[in-house]
């Protein structure tokens, strides 16, 4: 039955979810310091409203949106603003962030708490609650949710898809959210569907999460379609998920709304429920800390701004031969060069790999085997784009649709010559966008 829910291409890396799949989410205790970056989403960075020395309460707005495609940022705990300065950022460069010294009270700001009559909120009220809570896509892309739920009138929407695929190896955060907060996920989906004005909700979950599938099916009821998806990477990629569930193809250079669909992560749905039901801002999330390189793998509920070094300590520390710390999954995550970075709203996990698991490669010439072509879920020719990129022929890269590349890594994963295809294609994309900007 799940065979019909797939797309072209894709790869099957070892999933390694056994490290944390059956571990209940633990709450990370209050730490001694929080560093909250002002840039945690696609779009404009947020603008600070506080100054050094200010006392803040938990859930208080620390920074306001820097534009429409931007969100507010809230304090993860009560305390004093220590500094607003440049700090290491998960992207690898240093960026502005607010450092808070907790006072230990963990006191909420007024107005957050008792259950509200969320079922009778209208679409505008729900959208406002979502924006005020600072919601961004929690699957990793961190696109402001209120913007995604505001498609222009020319793009009518008829389906809301909830993304419970979690196709990255090692990560089990979404799995735990679906098992532990099933009702919140489903209610959140209904709230978001109300904003969009759609009746058709589909929840897609990879079939390697049988408990999640069963629980969500029970709670969702007969009006919501819950599908068990074929296990393949990148099943959780928006465009691939849409094709697998509806056979609709997002046009090149387009967005899901071009085919009448909006996709949201299950974690975002649960956060949307929190925002509407309790007025709770997005200040914490579930993440998976895993891999052979960490002594005690866990699923943790952590606050935004928690330092990875603190999390590593809580999980027993790294093994001596740990060489790689990846924020996200091993396919698309970002390698970190320091643990002094913080959890941001889109942090789904940290994967720690040992020396044996992280081979240093040397590239050989392309043998024209087309493994990359077979694997590409977007139907591109990675070997061609990469060759043009290496020779700085970026116009040719553009004509081979380099901008449609989702950087999923299937091509590099399949290449028997270990050619860094994704890096070459990323270079091409950067050059194409830069020359477009120059031309305009």
């Amino acid at each position: 039955m799940s065979k019909q829910y797939k797309f072209l291409g894709g790869v099957h890396p070892s999933y390694n979810k056994h490290f944390t799949r059956d571990l209940a989410t633990e709450e990370l205790p209050l730490q001694s310091s929080y560093v909250i970056p002002l840039s945690q989403n696609i779009g404009a960075a947020s603008v600070p409203l506080v100054d050094r020395g200010d006392q803040v309460l938990k859930g208080q707005m620390l920074a306001e949106p820097g534009g429409f495609v931007s969100v507010p940022i809230h304090a993860p705990t009560s305390g004093k603003i220590k500094k607003i300065d440049m700090y290491p950022h998960p992207s690898g460069r240093s960026m502005m962030a607010i450092e808070i010294k907790p006072d230990g009270e963990d006191k909420w700001i007024d107005g957050i708490g008792p259950l509200r009559d969320y079922e009778n909120m209208d679409a505008e009220a729900i959208k406002k609650a979502i924006w005020d809570a600072g919601l961004v896509g929690m699957g990793g892309a961190a696109f402001p949710t209120h913007v995604k739920l505001s498609p222009p009138k020319e793009k009518p929407i008829d389906i809301l898809i909830l993304n419970g695929a979690e196709c990255e190896p090692y990560l089990t955060a979404d799995d735990r959210i679906m098992v532990e907060r099933t009702k919140d996920v489903v209610e959140g989906a209904k709230l978001m569907a109300k904003v969009l004005g759609v009746d058709n909700i589909i929840i897609g979950i990879e079939e390697n999460k049988p408990e999640s599938v069963q629980k969500i099916r029970e709670v969702a009821g007969p009006d919501i379609r819950v599908e068990s998806l074929h296990v393949v990477y990148p099943q959780g990629s928006e465009k691939q998920l849409i094709y697998a569930l509806t056979k609709r193809e997002v046009p090149t250079g387009g967005l899901p709304m071009d085919v009448g669909i909006v996709v949201q992560n299950v974690g975002t749905a649960a956060a949307a429920f929190d925002a509407c039901a309790y007025g709770k801002p997005l200040i914490e999330r579930v993440m998976t800390v895993t891999g052979k390189g960490i002594k005690e793998p866990k699923n943790l509920l952590v606050r935004v701004g928690t330092l990875i070094s603190d999390i590593v300590e809580y999980c027993g520390g790294m093994h001596e031969d740990t060489v790689k710390a990846i924020m996200g999954g091993p396919m698309m995550g970002i390698g970190q060069h320091t643990l002094d970075v913080s959890v941001v709203k889109g942090t789904s996990g940290m994967v720690f790999l040992t020396k044996k698991e992280s081979t240093l490669y040397t590239s050989e010439p392309c043998i024209r085997c087309a493994s990359c072509v077979d694997a590409c879920p977007m139907g591109l020719l990675p070997t061609v784009i990469s060759s043009y990129s290496v020779n700085s022929m970026f116009d040719s890269c553009e004509s081979y649709n380099a901008l449609d590349c989702i950087e999923c890594g299937c091509c590099a994963f399949s290449c028997p010559s270990h050619i860094p295809l994704v890096q070459n294609i990323r270079r091409a994309k950067a050059e194409i966008l830069a020359s477009r900007k120059k031309a305009s």
Binding site: G92, R93, G335, L360, P420, Q423, R427, E431
Partner: protein, 286 residues
Amino acid sequence: MIISAVITLAVLGMIAGIGLGIAARVFAVKVDPRVEQIEAVLPAYNCGACGYAGCSDYAKAVAEGQSVNLCAPGGPNTVAKVAEIMGAEVTEQEKMVAYVLCAGTDSLAKKKYLYNGVADCNSANIVAGGDKQCGYGCMGLGSCVAACAFDAIVIEDGLARIIPEKCTGCKACVSACPKNIIHMIPASRAVHVACSNLDKGPAAKKACSVACIGCKRCTKECTNDEIVMDESGNLAVVDYSKKLQVSAPASVCPMNTILVIENEFTEPIVDPAPEEEETATQEERA
């Protein structure tokens, strides 16, 4: 029979020949004879420094009125010859060479991670700004070397160095560098602040043992703002429009960031003679 075949071919040949002769006159393209003359004196590097697609393209542009002064790689001799053909004025151009404003070799500058990727600076720059702790410094992977058509750049201990004697001033390396730390400098200048780090002193020092820490001692050795601090206030910058021919800024620099590099093009360093200073002290004593 043979004769008729020969005659037929001869007649056909004559018709074709006359036809071609007429066509050559009627459809002749008027070529400015100067274009060929100019192209003959240009160096045929086809490097693009003039902004045109190769030497023949520039020759055509000059014949149509473009400036005769654009071929820097050809040097003053070439410019003079082109000017002669066009009957135009030659403006004195100072010889410019490219210089990499960084001294952070692998031995002196720290790395923040082990980079295992494409051996190209522009590609490595995508990965957290490169593997150097100093986010501004030379990445040493050779994008500039690949861009240079004159073999004028070498990578030594992870740092790019331009050989002034080979540099033609074509500027290809300037646009190839993703950190934008290659600058065109008058070849006569010998004193350089070999750093581009804009971070505050302590952070710069942590990243590299020859970084500029913004102490400003060099600026105090200057009488006419030959070295000034940049906008951030953290980096000393030489104003190359002014002549700086003393070695004092280099000797007072606590980080050995300022280098005096002399070659066949540089004007000699003229330091104040030590005897004059002793005489002054004697006078003061008297």
